[in-house]
């Protein structure tokens, strides 16, 4: 088979980090080649080099056996390389066809020929089974479709080699399956695909070969059919990883958090959470599953007092905390691992010591009569740093100087120290590497086993299925259904995440049923 891409000894140095360290990487015609690695392993950097966004510090690139200098995405496109980024770059209020031809519009004597554009789009779409309506507006279509539009855009510009950076992060399980089919169709037409991911399941299902990166270097390239998830994980992390969770059977106790018909508006004044009701009990983890942007953020912020509620009631340990300010909510017994650790969870310019008391800084032993006790604060900080294994030269460095995983450990340590009856963990493992994810998972399960209530909000279905006792699926601000984790299947949750009920009916069916 012929090699369409060969990257030889690619090194990329950023100030302070070697993102790519003498990487050899090649792609054969018609294959799906996965780049696998933890966050920060250097996958995006390597592909940005191939796409001409970064210039390598050293190393050579060969396309179809010819050495090329790729100085810009224009060069890359001319060489038949297309890239679909993690964040889409589509014009929201343009139609699909307009987006696809943007920058490369068919015209007759300077006049835009939209009919030709639509025909071209339909033609490409049909050839690869993409099923995209050229006249739909981007703002009206789903994320999964928007991604197809990005793929179409690349194909329309003549891409033979398609790079996809973490394409599944935003998709429901069904959409991921569909994407798999589309990619297979593309390879059948002779296209080559480079897929970036850190999810093992997708690697095994979708790819022909896998190259594993760790800390900027290649660990190895394997034929996917010859390998297993355990083997890949070990190569990716550098040690053995256990996937099984040691979750004990456990009877849930009294209701700790009771949410009744809660409605919350987002900052634009649109109802983001609608009539949501659920309970979280002692000794259980209730997970809120759903695709990003379905009201999870607003739900958590309303529960923790960070934004106002429209209507409904929230009770914590029998105490009404509806619309109370954050301090009242904290004092009523809530710990909160926020979704955005940089924006909310930490004061990046402050020391770890100062960060590790945020939220109880005014209480003894850290403060008495408004006077802070530096000795106690430092002792406390050092104890948590040790107990939670935060890797840092000392507690007096700023939180901003730590890696993401260690920053998250600081937050987890601080919130666990409160020993709250309720912990709200919002995407607690986002952007963490496998080791740190294991750590957070273990801690959450320990909390549950010590009979605390945990509300877990997560976009990762694997995480939800591994940790939760019960799973509530949220779609467009509504809880579509709450199921026992033991009975839940990925397919069922996937349908619910797209608005269907656990029994397989869609949200639309049900609304009609109710109004009848």
């Amino acid at each position: 088979m012929s090699r369409v891409v060969e990257m030889k000894q690619i090194t990329k140095v950023f100030p302070g980090t070697v993102a790519n360290d003498h990487i050899d990487f090649d792609v054969e015609r018609g294959e799906i080649h996965v780049l696998l690695g933890e966050n920060g392993a250097g996958k995006t950097t390597l592909m940005n080099i191939l796409y001409g966004l970064y210039k390598p510090t050293s190393g050579d690139i060969y396309i179809d056996g010819v050495k090329e200098e790729i100085r810009s995405p224009n060069d890359a496109i001319a060489l038949g390389i297309g890239m679909v980024h993690q964040h889409f770059m589509l014009v929201e209020n343009f139609t699909v066809a307009e987006n696809i031809v943007l920058g490369n519009e068919p015209s007759t004597r300077g006049i835009l020929d939209m009919e030709a554009a639509r025909a071209a789009v339909r033609d490409v779409s049909d050839r690869f089974g993409l099923a995209v309506d050229p006249d739909a507006r981007i703002e009206d279509i789903s994320v999964g479709l928007a991604q197809r539009v990005e793929i179409l855009k690349a194909l329309y510009r003549g891409a033979e080699i398609l790079i996809m950076d973490e394409p599944t992060a935003v998709l429901t399980p069904q959409e991921i399956d569909d994407l798999g089919t589309i990619l297979k169709n593309l390879t059948r037409e002779g296209k080559s695909i480079i897929l970036i991911t850190h999810k093992l399941k997708e690697v095994l299902e979708m790819s022909d070969r896998t190259t594993i990166l760790r800390r900027g270097a290649v660990v190895g390239t394997v034929r996917t059919s010859d390998t297993t998830a355990d083997e890949l994980a070990e190569m990716m992390v550098g040690r053995q990883v256990s996937f099984s969770s040691d979750k004990q059977e456990k009877q849930a106790g009294n209701v700790i958090l009771h949410v009744d018909k809660l409605t919350v508006k987002d900052h634009r004044g649109i109802e983001a959470v609608r009539q949501v009701s659920f309970d979280v009990r002692e000794g259980e983890i209730l997970a809120i599953a759903g695709v990003d942007g379905n009201g999870q953020k607003e739900l958590v912020e309303a529960l923790t007092g960070l934004i106002a509620t429209e209507s409904g009631r929230v009770t914590l340990c029998g105490c009404d905390i509806t619309g109370k300010d954050p301090r009242t909510v904290i004092e009523a017994g809530t710990g909160h691992i926020p979704e955005d650790r940089h924006k909310r969870g930490l004061v990046l310019q402050s020391s770890l010591f100062e960060n590790l008391i945020l939220g109880y800084h005014y209480k003894p032993p850290f403060a008495k009569h408004g006077r802070m006790d530096p000795v106690k604060i430092v002792e406390h900080g050092n104890r948590l740093i040790e107990e939670f294994d935060v890797r840092t030269p000392s507690g007096s460095v700023t939180a901003g100087s730590l890696s993401g995983g260690n920053q998250q450990k600081v937050i987890v340590a601080r919130e666990f120290y409160k020993d709250p009856p309720l912990l709200i963990a919002s995407q607690p493992t986002r952007g963490l590497d496998v080791g740190a994810i294991e750590f957070v998972h273990k801690r959450l399960l320990e909390l549950r086993d010590s009979n605390k209530a945990v509300l877990l909000v997560s976009l990762e279905l694997d995480e939800v299925m591994k940790l939760a006792d019960r799973i509530a699926v949220i779609y467009q601000g509504r809880i579509v259904g709450i199921v026992d984790a033991a009975d839940a299947t990925e397919r069922m949750l996937g349908l619910m995440m797209a608005g269907g009920s656990p029994e397989g009916r869609t949200a639309a069916d049900r609304t009609e049923g109710e109004s009848a």
Binding site: N74, I77, H87, P326, R344, V347, L358, A367, G370
Partner: protein
């Protein structure tokens, strides 16, 4: 020990380099005007530091700008830009005059305490108005404090001209200045304690300023109040998440900031000028205070050497003039220092922005490439 030193150096590096650059630029300018920079700087420092009365002159110049420097510093720490120290200073000086006049029968210690408290509260309330508007209505404090400055000035002019005017009180037509602070309410001159201060008008207000700096340092770095103010200043969203009210701390910081500027006004009245004149202009101490805080790294103790620097420049410029060197040189020096510091802050901010935007920028490059 070494670690501590490295840390301190990392904090003071910028101001130190800025000052060195300021003086170097000043030296070039002096040389361009055909004078000898060495002679000029000797005159500058000798005049402001070398003799006790000379140093006394420097000290009384430091007093008000240390107060307004502290005022600016605490507002910066809360992420606010209080450019209303001017107005806060003015309302407090009028309050000080009024209290000293109407309370002249009171025992001295009691009266002084009352005047200082009134000055602090008057300035604090004036700052607090801007804090309230910011916290409850989201009105930008830069705009509201500028407006309040002018309101303060014209209000003061009215009060000074009519109710507090000695002429009006004596039944005559209004005059352009207030009554004079009675002897009992005047701060002690240093020369009354140490005769060596000779001709200098330095007064015990400098000690009130120094104590205020230490107290402010304590509040900011050793109490929960300071922790909350600093947290709001560094990351308001994280503060809210930690149960710290942004609104409350915004108002509190503006109150403290205004209070310090107000204390400066009251001390200046009873320590040095003893009356308030009707004036078409704001006194300018508030703006110098912004410079003091910038050079002092918004640290209350850092404001002390920083205020000393500006005091030296102001007092020494007269001495340089006597040595035949244009006094504008000192303005050039302080200007260069400020441009340097503000410039590097802007560069640092922009740098952070660029880092944060890197990903996005890379993508934009791609779009432009199409």
């Amino acid at each position: 020990m070494k670690e501590k030193f490295t840390y301190v150096w990392s904090v003071i590096r910028l101001p130190v380099i800025a000052v060195v650059f300021g003086f170097l630029t000043g030296a070039v300018c002096i040389a361009v005007t055909g004078n000898n920079p060495v002679v000029a700087y000797i005159a500058l420092f000798r005049g402001s530091l070398a003799s006790i009365p000379g140093f006394g002159e420097t000290m009384y110049k430091i007093t008000p700008i240390l107060f307004t420097g502290l005022a600016a510093a605490i507002s910066f720490r809360c992420g606010l830009f209080n450019i209303g120290a001017e107005g806060q200073y003015v309302v407090a000086s009028v309050a000080a005059i009024a209290i000293s006049w109407f309370g002249q029968g009171l025992p001295r210690i009691f009266l002084l305490a009352l005047i200082l408290t009134a000055g602090f509260c008057a300035g604090g309330l004036w700052g607090g108005i801007a804090g309230f508007l910011k916290a409850k209505r989201g009105i930008n404090e830069v705009i509201s404090t500028i407006m309040l400055n002018w309101i303060a000035l014209y209000l003061a002019n009215y009060l000074v001209r009519i109710p507090l005017s000695p002429n009006v009180r004596a039944g005559l037509s209004p005059a352009g200045h207030s009554v004079v602070v009675p002897e009992v309410a005047k701060l002690t001159k240093l020369k009354a304690i140490v005769p060596a201060f000779g001709y200098s008008s330095a007064h015990t207000g400098i000690f009130i300023a120094l104590i205020s700096a230490v107290v402010m340092w304590y509040i900011l770095f050793k109490t929960t109040v300071g922790y909350e103010i600093r947290t709001v200043g560094l990351n308001a969203q994280a503060a809210e998440y930690g149960g710290i009210s942004k609104a409350k701390n915004t108002m509190l910081a503006m109150f403290l900031s205004g209070g310090l500027a107000g204390l400066g006004g009251a001390v200046q009245i009873i320590g040095l000028v003893y009356m308030v004149n009707q004036s078409p202009m704001l006194p300018g101490y508030g703006f110098t205070g912004l410079s003091v805080a910038l050079v002092g790294n918004s640290h209350p103790l850092g404001c002390i050497p920083s205020a000393l620097l500006f005091g030296i420049l102001e007092n020494g410029s007269r001495q340089m003039q006597l040595a035949g060197i244009p006094s504008e040189i000192t303005s050039i020096i302080s200007g260069v220092i400020l441009v340097f510091i503000a410039g590097s802050l802007v560069i640092k901010l922009a740098g952070d922005r660029i880092k944060a935007k890197w990903g996005k920028r890379a993508m934009r490059t791609e779009q432009e490439g199409l």
